[in-house]
Symmetry: C2
Subunit: 224 residues, 2 copies
Amino acid sequence: MRDFAVEAGGGALRPTVSDAISLGPGLALQGTRMHFGRNAEIFGEGEQAEYLYRVVSGAVRTIRFSSDGRRQILAFHLPGDVFGLEPGAKHTLSAEAIGEAEVSMVRRSLIDAAANEDVAAARALLTLMQRELLATQEHALVLGRKGAGERVAAFLLKLADRVTSSCEIDLPMSRADIADYLALTIETVSRAFTQMERDKAIALPSSRHVIVRDRCALELLEAA
Amino acid sequence: MRDFAVEAGGGALRPTVSDAISLGPGLALQGTRMHFGRNAEIFGEGEQAEYLYRVVSGAVRTIRFSSDGRRQILAFHLPGDVFGLEPGAKHTLSAEAIGEAEVSMVRRSLIDAAANEDVAAARALLTLMQRELLATQEHALVLGRKGAGERVAAFLLKLADRVTSSCEIDLPMSRADIADYLALTIETVSRAFTQMERDKAIALPSSRHVIVRDRCALELLEAA
DNA sequence: CGCTCGATTGAGCCGCGTCAAAGTGCGTGG
DNA sequence: CCACGCACTTTGACGCGGCTCAATCGAGCG
């Protein structure tokens, strides 16, 4: 149940996530698998957007820098997630592997060709885009309207829904990543975790391993 | 130079904004014009998404409510802007006229039909979507990383770029709207305005009328 | 064993939210 | 035309939450 981030090299046991990117029910484009090391840049802001990406294993963050030089993480991408979709020619943000990660890449020329012939494919791209828009809107709402504890609670709940049906989460990212995603400081994130542990809402066997003890308490916290 | 929001009924002098929605160079769909009164709901969250909209005159806000019941304004739409684009069946947010507003509406069935035959139209929709995604990401960054004064400065600068090339802005929205957009309180927004006036960065002949006196000072403030 | 990086904990300060009270502009009705 | 009321804006006082600075702790690794 641990370690969806490692095991580089072997292609044997990967039940759910293949190398293909699905563009609607009838079409899936085969991609090239590539490996990225810890903190390796997958693509950078301003570069030509040559590929569409999909996480096979590990986790990926997309980032941008604000004018004062601080890092803002826009999203985390887990196995199965598609990222790097940009209709324009250039990337408007950067993407980095968080730990060791395997990523499947499909050339944009192939995507474009598929979208040009197949209307369903074009629609699939639009849907992909909308999912990202919705997530970003939701995130903006969290940043604007919630306090520190509520942000962390919301983050954990969303992650728990995404990563597993069980109540155990292996965080692929550091406190610094969480802080830069939630627009908080490391210290505040850390304090929020300890507080939630004190309230018996979660357990923290190690700093990267979270057990959701009382989901309702978290949901209550999130709503605050 | 004032009053792009009023003059209901007459269709005479409207140089820049027509009733049509452009979907690429070769295609523009004619819409039906409709009038909405101050604070009137154009569509609500959860309703069927039957139309694509375009602001002809006036201004429109799109809103959502956070779990604690507070209003969050996701975007302001000015004359020429398209809004209400949602690939899904239902609207995921609400839209309201801020003042008196004229809006051009095109049935989604027409949009879909156009996207199905014309690849360029589908691409135009994708581009429209991306523009919104970029704006939302930028906004999330502002909410997360900037202080009150910087948010208001950034807001004014973006508005100034959008509404006119001159340095005079007629705010279509109230302080409460600005506050709910920037995730601040009315009081804090008001204080930011007065502070900027004190610093000679802007002048405030009336609360809705802003003159940008020193654009550099604003840009400096925004970067802070 | 000791170094290093990440996480935790504490003390103090500052910005923004809250509550409260004037002040301002505008439409309505006398 | 003036008086009134209402909605919006501005200004002030005060408290709290999260940032800053700083020290300690813990785990992985050479």
